[in-house]
Amino acid sequence: MPISRRMIHAGATIGVVLTAWALLTEVTHSISTSRFPSPLQFWQSAKQITTTGYADGTLLSHALHSLKLVIMGFAVAAIIGVALGLLMGWSRRAEAVINPAFLLIRPIPPLAWIPLAILWLGLGDGAKIMVIFFAAFVPAVINTATGVRTIDEHFIEAARMLGTRRRRLVCEVLIPGAAPMIFTGLRLSLQASWTTLVAAELVGALAGLGRVLNMAQQDIYPAMVMVGMAAVGALGWVTTRVLAEAERLAMPWLSP
């Protein structure tokens, strides 16, 4: 029964770590709580931000603000990126025209767009959406193009032979054929979106989880830092799960 043993070990590990955390901070005071919060402080901070709020808003309002920006930037990048990827995968000519310009932009890490976005659009939501767009755009394009390129050509030949018109070919052969790679790209895009948004909000923002982290850092409030990090991790996990579920629904032929 390897699975149950794994679960026992996992449970034991997490139990030991939590107990050690509580003991070292609350009982023996080996770790100074001015640098690392105790479980009790963590709980109190979590309660504070969910009920009375911190950095001009409750946890829910900050989380929703960040989530809204991620969804907007990600959606725009996914639509444009997948469309461009389909074009580049399908037409060698289009690829030859677009690729050199794309290669100029591609090696720039998404986070490096942040200062430019602030110069152009200020500290508001527009700059965040721009940065998320650039983070999510590149993986969507690359993976979609690869996906189209790797479709079994028999499918395309068969569709052509049966007289399929271009629109149907795109919707019924190219997109489903490239779907596994498209979703791989979108998963990478989504991860990059979160990382970039948190960074952009840390550099400067009026609301959002990054602002919570930033304020907590300035107030030297480690417990709130930890709450912010936990919220960032949880939201990242939730959005990844939602995308995985969408992937399963969109490609029923792949699930057992």
Binding site: P2, R5, R6, H9, A10, T13, I14, R35, G89, W90, S91, R92, R93, A96, V97, I98, N99, P100, A101, L104, P107, I108, P109, P110, L111, A112, I114, P115, L116, L119, W120, V148, R149, E153, I156, E157, R160, M161, W194, T195, V198, A199, L202, V203, L213, N214, A216, Q217, I220, P222, V225, G228, M229, A230, V232, G233, A234, G236, W237, T240
Partner: protein, 264 residues
């Protein structure tokens, strides 16, 4: 013409189309800047950006010249990635070899995995300051997971017959780990290191935007607060170029290892 997308273009045609695309991109950019559709402060011409980059090589900005900033960045980056590799690779191999270690580390790893590396910034600043320690922690947070996963996968998927042969010849646990598992997982470890190095470079940029007092990221932040778009764009250019160089070098190392192993 049924599968035109599979047939590569003639080299000449591909080259000409590429030049055309690049000219369009740079041409539209230059036109917008030259016709003052956007102010030069907002969007400098490509030429102005390049001139600024060359200027920064000799003229110090934000306390140092561009090469010196790059050197400071690379120093932190080297320490962070090295630390990630030195901790991640042995731990990953150990997890692939000893089931109990896998069971103990995996839940902790999974719990921390979804926290973006950049979210460590406040703790990094609080624990290690903004000099070199803070950025190193953030680079480590970015580069560690791929290093660990690469080594883990390598150790898990080693051909069982090698391990069995070693065992049969009386090789002990630790010796098998070092002399069989480690060499057999080198391709997977290198692949992990390459991904880790890429993510580490991205994290470095984020770290320097927020918690550093020197480095290319810091140069860009200073350019931003001086409303000097050419400086910011020159910084982006430098970061992109060095990132590309790192990736090319590691890709070459990876394909060298794979060729030697006869993997392709």
């Amino acid at each position: 013409m049924a599968t035109s997308h599979k047939v590569p273009l003639a080299r000449r045609e591909a080259f000409l189309l590429g030049v055309l695309g690049l000219c369009c991109f740079l041409g539209i950019w230059t036109a917008i800047a030259q016709l003052h559709l956007a102010s030069p402060q907002f969007l400098p011409t490509p030429y102005a950006v390049l001139a600024r980059a060359i200027h920064l090589v000799s003229e110090p900005f934000a306390g140092a010249t561009l090469p010196l900033h790059l050197l400071r960045s690379l120093e932190r980056y080297g320490y962070g990635v090295m630390l990630a590799a030195l901790l991640g690779v042995p731990l990953g191999l150990g997890m692939g070899w000893y089931g109990w270690l896998d069971h103990v580390i995996t839940p902790l790893f999974d719990a921390l995995r979804f926290i973006a590396p950049i979210a460590w910034v406040p703790f990094a600043a609080l624990w290690f300051g903004t000099g070199i320690g803070g950025p190193i922690l953030i680079i480590f947070a970015g580069a560690f997971p791929p290093c660990l996963i690469g080594a883990y996968r390598g150790a898990r998927f080693v051909d069982a017959k090698y391990v069995e042969a070693a065992r049969m010849l009386g090789s002990g646990g630790v010796r098998t780990l070092i002399e069989v598992l480690l060499p057999a997982s080198v391709p997977s470890i290198i692949a992990g290191l390459r991904v880790g190095a890429g993510l580490g470079w991205q994290s470095l940029v984020g770290a320097e935007l927020i918690v550093a007092s020197a480095g290319v990221g810091y140069l860009m932040v200073q350019g931003q607060s001086n409303v000097s778009t050419p400086t910011v764009m020159a910084g982006m250019l430098a970061i992109g170029a060095v990132g590309l160089l790192i990736d090319v070098l590691l890709r070459a190392a990876e394909s060298l290892v794979r060729r030697r192993r006869g993997l392709t």
